[in-house]
Subunit: 244 residues, 2 copies
């Protein structure tokens, strides 16, 4: 038992998907640190706006001015905003995601974290955290640092447009158990420690925060951001707009 | 990091697939002990003969008399043989596979290994090892025990009908590396140590043998079986018929 190599599993998955005639044949595998594993088609990363859920199209209507697409994946949101004529910077920590975004036509795709990118001194009017990327808040502690980094890059009146998911809406025993353990460890219940696996690669473990709109409002209370709109998509998923 | 629970991952995957409107949405995840992971639709377990590859339909033309379908999965071959009027016993070590096979209409599905089942004293004219189940030979050492167990259950002139896959046809670096390690350990190059994962479950690790027709001929040389026919499906897959 040697275990997977640590590397750009997510990016290699996207590269493989891009090379396929039908990206729906590509499967994304995500493993949680309690051993739970989930595999689902990676088709959504390559989906055109016509195939999106209505709330995803609605999300882009809130975008204005200079946009930073955080965790851009294969660039689907960045491409749609470019098509609308908005200046977009697509950011991802995955070299494969950045390459695939460029190959698919994203004109400004950048490798790095929000923290790395903040050093460049750019200002933005809109920060996108789509594709459940509100999860990039990671944890209660990290959320404050992350939001402060966005503040430092925010133009006056800037917005964050985020897709969130409330883990506590599930009655699945594996999830209930995991959330109970999180509470015992003093974490927010929806803090997930996960990694992506692809062939013999695994990404490093990372935290991903699934929180309710109420938890999100509490998290941003002490920051420069205000939760100004929440649109429920279904009992789990929601679209959040935060204003600076 | 607690890791998955050991259990009937394969059977739970089949149960979930059976409950879905579209089994193609079900994904089977197989992990190798070097960390390689593979996810692919589990649709084939539920496929009707019309959707099979031609060699799979051809395989059933070699079946005659009393049939033991070894590693029956969701019972697709057993159901097709029942429809032809043949008496079939479907055998699987997975309780979920046995339940799903029964629910799908297999009239005689049995839980257990070949070794368990041999104790029942039944005799068969045909042993099916379809769905790549020639892999159940496991290893050079286990193959001889397995084939002896079939011999003990074989009627005169009995046949084994097996779907094999030759791992050495791949030039994928991860596979080449794995096969090299196997040779260093004195194993046959295509001996894979794998497990199935589904949600928070993992099957026990088990060995699965991918061998070439030439290796198979060598393996059976000292047994009561003779490799009488090999039909190449593609450079990797083949259909083998062994006669007692």
């Amino acid at each position: 038992m040697t275990g997977p190599r640590v590397g750009d599993a997510f990016g290699e998955m996207l590269r493989t998907g891009l090379a396929l005639a039908s990206p729906s044949a590509m499967v994304e595998i995500v493993e949680r640190d309690d051993g739970l594993i989930r595999a689902a088609t990676a088709e959504r990363y390559f989906a055109e706006p016509a195939a999106w859920l209505p709330f995803e199209r609605k999300a882009l209507d809130f975008a204005a001015g200079r946009v930073l697409d955080i965790g851009c994946g294969a660039g689907r949101y960045a491409l749609a905003l470019q098509a609308r004529g908005l200046p977009v910077t697509a950011l991802d920590v995955s070299p494969g995601a950045v390459d695939v975004s460029r190959e698919r036509g994203v004109t400004h795709a950048v490798l790095g974290t929000v923290s790395d990118h903040g050093a460049a001194g750019e200002r933005y009017d809109t920060f996108l955290l789509m594709g459940e990327n509100l999860g990039l808040l990671e944890s209660a502690g990290q959320a404050h640092r992350f939001l402060a980094e966005l503040t430092a890059m925010a133009s006056p009146g800037a917005r964050i447009i985020a897709h969130g998911a409330d883990a506590q809406q599930s009655d699945d025993p594996a999830h209930v158990r995991y959330q109970r353990r999180n509470r015992e460890l003093g974490r927010m219940p929806g803090q997930m420690t996960i990694r992506v696996r692809h062939r013999d690669l695994a990404s490093p473990w990372f935290d991903y925060l699934l929180c309710s709109p109420g938890e999100l409002a509490a998290l941003v209370a002490a920051t420069a951001w205000e939760l100004t709109d929440v649109f429920d998509v279904d009992p789990v998923n929601y679209l959040a707009v935060l204003t600076h």
